[in-house]
Structures are given as C-alpha cells and as structure tokens.
C-alpha cells in the first residue's frame, strides 16, 4: 500500500518545490511529520517554489486603527491581513528576498519580513539631511520624496551576508550597508583627476567622486551593475563591497547607444535593471506629464504643478560576452516572462510557473512621489502596447500615504 508520508525526503521536497503559492507551501508543512521535515529542510537551505511577487497594499490611516497591513497574492487572488504595528505609518519598499524596507518619521530604517515578522535594524542614513522639523503623520509621504527612491537587497553567495543598497531620492546617489555595520557607505567613483589629465604627474592620479544619477542596481554575471540616468553603466565587484569599508574602486563603462539619449530630455522616464536567465534586462518606462486642469483643494496643491501617467515601456537585453558598447538588443516579445518595476527591487518571474501571472507583461507601480493625486499602477502588455489598471479594490485616497509595492514573499 502506498504511503505518501514515507516517500524519500528528496521526493517530498521536489513536490513541494512545484507548488506555486506560499499558502499551499505552508499547508504542505502541516500534513504530517515527514512533509514538515522536508519543508523545514527546504527553508533552511532557502529553497522555495517559484512564486509570484505579492502586492503590499498601503495603510489607510483612517481604517487601519488595528495596525493591519494587507498583502495581496495574485496567484490565489486573495488578500491576507497581517497585524503589523512594526510597519504602521512607515513607508515600505519591497525586495526580492522576502524583506520590506521600512522608514518612518523617526528616521529609523528596518528590514522587516511582514510574514514571519523577522526584523533587522539598519543604521540611520548619514547622507540624509532631515528635512522635516516637527513632523506629524501627514508628512509621511514626504519621506519618499526626500529619502529613498529604490531599494535592492542582495545575499552574498560567499558568506550569506545581506547587503542592502538604497538609491536616495534627492540627488540619486547610492549607498549600501550590511546588517551589523554602524553606518551606510556611499558608492563612490574613482576617476583620473583633472590635474593628472592635464599632465601634472606630481598630483594624485585619481580623485573620488560620488556616483550620481543612479536609476537602478542589480546583480548580474558576478558583479553589481548600476545604471545612471543618462544610460551610463558602472560595475562593482562583490568582494570589494563585501570586505572593504573604503570607497569602492569601480569600473565605469561608456554610455550605451540607445534611445536613452532621449531620456536625457525626458525627466519622466525611468530605467530599471533585472537579471534573467543570465541575461541582463533593461526596462525603460516612459511617462507623459500633463497639467491637471481641475481645481485642487488639496493640502499639497502647491506642490502639484502637473500630473503624469505611464504610457509606454521598452525592454533591452544584454547577454554575457557581448561588447558593452554595442551589445543591447531591443526585445519586442518577453515570451513567458513577467517583469515587476516600481520603487521596489526590480523583479521578474516565469509566468507559466505560477497561476494568474501574465507572460510578456510588465507590472508597474508608482515610483514618483511629487504627485500623489492618482495612482500610476497597472500592467503593460508588450504585444498590444496597451496598459490595463491593476488591483482596483483600493480607494485612490489610500495611495496618498504609501503606494502599493511588489515584494517577493519568503517564510
């Protein structure tokens, strides 16, 4: 007689890894001891099924008096409510490792796993000049404006240590920290000094400048890749990041020959980077600005000269071994791939391996915060070039405090 609890653990693990939602994965662990052991072992080795990111929905300060945060799993088409005072009234940014980064008016920064409630305190940001004097809750939205634009969390394959990167909103500089460090370290660029270039050999050959205009960062082909606003690429060595406290020696690569030069004239464009099956993908997001013709009685109306919405995306691929100068190829079809862009870490998913995920589509959330009157959130279909709104169950007013972000759940 077949005994499903007596399957070899390796087979139980293989079955569990073929589930496609976190709920099914958790239910699996409660069937019997051997299945529970298999799941414990998978978790210990950080092996998880292929999951679709969840949408972290905003707190509604009027409704969430019990500190509840709603997390939406598109695969199950289900909202889970978590009691999370740890995240209440704090801005949240999603990552691909189960963590969300939270920042509150106290300027404390934490990594929080909203499902397990694990939490790691990170040092405050030394680069940031507090802009809020005597802040109250209505100032919360300004935190995004003045502080953080993009978050990327990476786990070092060398020592398993987390490295947290943050792109600051103000001048788009990049800094990183490892949990346990006492402070954030800015990423700086080592370049030949102007004296040296003029032929003055007595001067230091190099000077350190801060890397500006950073749009996104990802890990690809053994190095961190940073893209700047005008399409410049910079590569960072993991070992240097992992071991050194000093400004990192980085290699700078030339501009990429693309329509990116047009981006220079378009402040409402964004660039995202994501690694996919050993290729590096670059996503360009184009937004249209327009003047809001309606009278706005809003408190922040003086800060809202225009409105905007996302109108188009383009995707480019760079494969290992290509010449960085020429090696970008525009993709008109993403095949089975779905990409998630916004102020969270850029992520991608094989759509056919999870339910309710559309391949050849780009899911986007709002990553602009100087205008908060609408929500720029939806799904872009690469085939038709059309945009559909996504997740309509939330009142637009709730977006004022904190826009929804995607994050990849982990337990």
């Amino acid at each position: 007689m077949a005994d499903w609890s007596q399957l070899p653990q390796e087979l139980i693990e293989q079955i569990a890894l073929k589930l496609d939602t976190l709920e099914d994965f958790v239910v699996f662990a409660t069937i019997c001891r051997p299945w529970n052991n298999a799941l414990t072992s998978l978790k210990e080795h950080e092996r998880f099924p292929k999951l679709m990111p969840w949408l972290l929905l905003s707190f509604n300060p009027n409704r969430n008096i019990h500190y509840n945060l709603d997390l939406f799993d598109p695969c199950k088409d289900k909202c889970y409510r978590f009691n999370l005072p740890e995240a209440y009234n704090r801005r949240c940014w999603g990552t691909s490792l189960g963590w969300i980064l939270t920042l509150g008016l106290d300027l404390e920064i934490h990594l929080l796993n909203p499902i397990t409630k694990a939490s790691i305190r990170l040092p405050p940001q030394p680069l940031l000049t507090p802009v809020l004097t005597d802040p109250d809750d209505s100032d919360l939205w300004k935190i995004q404006l003045y502080y953080i634009k993009r978050v990327f969390v990476f786990k070092s394959p060398i020592d398993g240590q987390l490295i947290v990167f943050v792109v600051h909103y103000d001048d788009n500089v990049l800094s990183f920290v490892k949990p346990g460090d006492s402070s954030w370290i800015p990423i700086e660029l080592q370049v030949p000094s102007s004296e040296y270039l003029r032929g003055d050999n007595s001067s230091n050959w190099n000077q350190i400048i801060q890397l500006h205009n950073v749009m996104d960062i990802t890990y690809w082909n053994g190095a961190f890749v940073i893209v700047s606003k005008f399409g410049g690429f910079t590569f960072l060595d993991l070992n240097q990041i992992a071991q050194q406290q000093q400004p990192c020696l980085v290699q700078d690569y030339p501009l990429i020959p693309l329509e990116i030069s047009n981006i220079e004239n378009n402040n409402e464009a964004r660039i995202y980077l994501v690694e996919c099956n050993s290729d590096l993908l670059m996503v360009l997001r184009f937004k249209a600005e327009f003047v809001d013709s309606q009278e706005d009685d809003d408190d922040y109306s003086d800060l809202i000269p225009v409105d905007y919405e996302t109108i188009n995306f383009k995707v480019y691929r760079h494969s290992p071994g290509f010449d960085m100068d020429r090696g970008w190829e525009e993709l008109h079809d993403l095949g089975d791939l779905a990409i998630f862009v916004g102020s969270h870490s850029t992520m991608c998913v094989t759509a056919s391996s999870v339910a309710n995920c559309r391949g050849n589509n780009i899911y986007f959330t709002d990553d602009d915060y100087h205008v908060c009157t609408r929500r720029d959130m939806g799904v872009f279909d690469m085939k038709t070039g059309t945009i559909e709104p996504y997740y309509l169950n939330v009142d637009d007013n709730e977006f004022r405090q904190c826009h929804p972000v995607w994050f990849l759940p982990r337990i």
Binding site: W4, L11, L19, D24
Partner: protein, 164 residues
Amino acid sequence: MASSSSSSLSRVVVKSSDNNLFVVNKKVASQSQLLKQCIDNMEEKGTNDVILIPLSNVTSNILTLVLEYCEKHADFADDDNNNQELKQWDHEFLKKFDYATLNSLTMAADYMVTKSLLNLCCQFIADSIKDLTVQQIRQIFDIKNDFTPQEEADIKNENAWAFR
C-alpha cells in the same frame, strides 16, 4: 569510427521485482538513465550478448507504465519539451492513475532515473494539492496525521495567516 558500433546493443531485457521479463529496445531504455548507464557499461566492455537488467524495486505493473512512458518519449526524443501533443499525452497518461499507483510510479521514476517522468509526477502531485485544505490533502493521499494536537496547533500558529 565504425568500430564503436560493432559492439552496440539493440535491445535489453529488464526484469521486474516479481520476475517478469520485458524486452526493451535501446532507444526506449535510454529514457531511463539507470538503464542507459547499464547499456553504456556493457557496450564499453564490448559485449554483443543481450543483457539482463534486474530492477529489484519495480513491480511489473509499474514497470509496464514506465516503459509505456519511455516508449512515447523515445518517439519524441528530439523535441521533448516543446511538443504540445506530447504534453497532452503526458497529462492524459497520469490522469488515469489512482494515488497509490502514482506513488509507486514516482518512486520507480526516481529509482530508474527517468527525470522527465519524475518531474511530471511531482508536478501532477503538486497540482493536485493546490488550493486544498489540510484535511482534504490527508484524505486524498490517505496520510495519517502523526502530529500531537499541540504540535499541529503550533505549526499552524506559526503561519496563522494561511489558515484563516
């Protein structure tokens, strides 16, 4: 060189745990890495005899099923992954079985290192589990709850969100 083909086998004989013999052609047998390894080893030794491979863990009714799968997949060996007809066949193939058979088939696929069949079985089982409650899964797979009530409550409590 032509010499390497002088000792190639065209068929093997596979013996089930209940001592039934199956004559299998080489292309079909090669779908199983275990059988392929045996064939390769014999060919290296340069034997021309038909070899007998005993499978002590697989009964003849399960072996019949594995070989049925291997035969179908040997026909599609060149475009294994992208063939819609084959995918459809795979699905229909597994749908026929009760969970006890599926269990034995999964074990056999693992033992015979027939990776695509093992993958297929695991995916089929995972798909059957999706969206079910703990009670339903235990019932369908006939799994005894071996937790104490306290243990089960603790485990559920750890991820209470999934059980509301």
